[in-house]
Amino acid sequence: MTRKQRESPTINGAPMADIAFLLLIFFLVTTTIATDKGLSMLLPPKPDPENKPEINIHERNIFKVLINSADRLLVEDEPLEDPRLIRQMVKDHVLNYGVNPNLADSPGDAVVSFKAARGTSYEIYIAVLNEVQGAYYDMYADRAGVTNEKWRKIASDLGDPENKRIYLAARKDFPMQISIAEPSN
């Protein structure tokens, strides 16, 4: 009696690569790598029409940035073309320690006041906010002895006690006071 030779029990694995490719292409196409990054901000509390807080800030401590509806900048009453120049100006203002009589008394008193018109574009607003926040991040990073990038990582992850300690030490007597006024005409 002749016995038929047994068929090998293995499955042909060649089309597996094709299937994997197909799935790979599907996920490649549908992937949107999460873009959850941006400029973070804390809005002021709800306005209370009855008791307005008394504002008593000396003129020299305020660093004023105005943007009109044609996206032109007015920084400390002088027109400015390039928003990137604001970064150094903010640093000079905050780190003045009372030397220049037109700039802030101390970092604790310094305020950046920032006002846009209703017709200002969002793009320029973000560009200016980026520079002002960047100036502060640079200064905090210097105080903490890290790079700006590292500082932002630390500030984004305060769950870690070590990060929190560095964060609070660098921000002590050095608040980031950015006042953003309601857009007006």
């Binding site: 949107t32 941006g38 973070s40 901000m41 509390p45 846009a116 017709g119 969002y122 980026n130």
Partner: protein
């Protein structure tokens, strides 16, 4: 007689047995990183660039508002606010925030973060109105979603 090149005995083929493994590895990477989009965005989104970006800490606390010109012309050319799947008016933001807060755990409700995804050309008047409503709704943590700008 001239000696011709001897034919090499070694196989010229690359073994492809490990190819599926490599592909699977790539596949798993993309499967893990993929976030299937839950909402269809109905407004134009050209996100502005910035350099001083910070990462959102906890994604579960984030709610998104999309602002831009509607993609469908029948909705007009003025920028609209989209929340979840619908267009909402500025006055509805307080209600929307309340609904979003209800989705969170009670202890985390005050930590809600609103991510604003705004088109470059939207005017600040509308954004100011949105921010005022968010202040009224006591959702004060805000994130202007931007992309990284490498031109600086």
């Amino acid at each position: 007689m001239a000696k011709f090149k001897k034919k090499s005995k070694t196989s010229q083929e690359i073994p492809t047995a490990s190819l599926p493994d490599i592909i699977f590895m790539l596949l798993f990477f993309f499967m893990v990183t993929t976030v299937l989009r839950e909402t269809t965005i109905n407004v134009h989104q050209r996100i502005p660039g910035a350099t001083e970006l910070r990462k959102l800490q906890r994604k579960s606390l984030v709610s998104y508002l999309y602002v831009g010109k509607p993609k469908q012309e029948s909705f007009g050319t003025e920028p609209l606010i989209q929340a979840n799947d619908v267009f909402i008016k500025v006055d509805d933001i307080v209600l929307w925030v309340t609904q979003e807060k209800d989705k969170l755990d009670e202890v985390e409700r005050d930590q809600i973060t609103v991510a604003l995804k705004v088109d470059k050309e939207v005017k600040m008047g509308l954004i100011g109105d949105v921010q005022m409503e968010l202040r009224k709704a006591n959702a004060r943590k805000l994130m202007y979603t931007t992309i990284i700008n490498i031109d600086y």
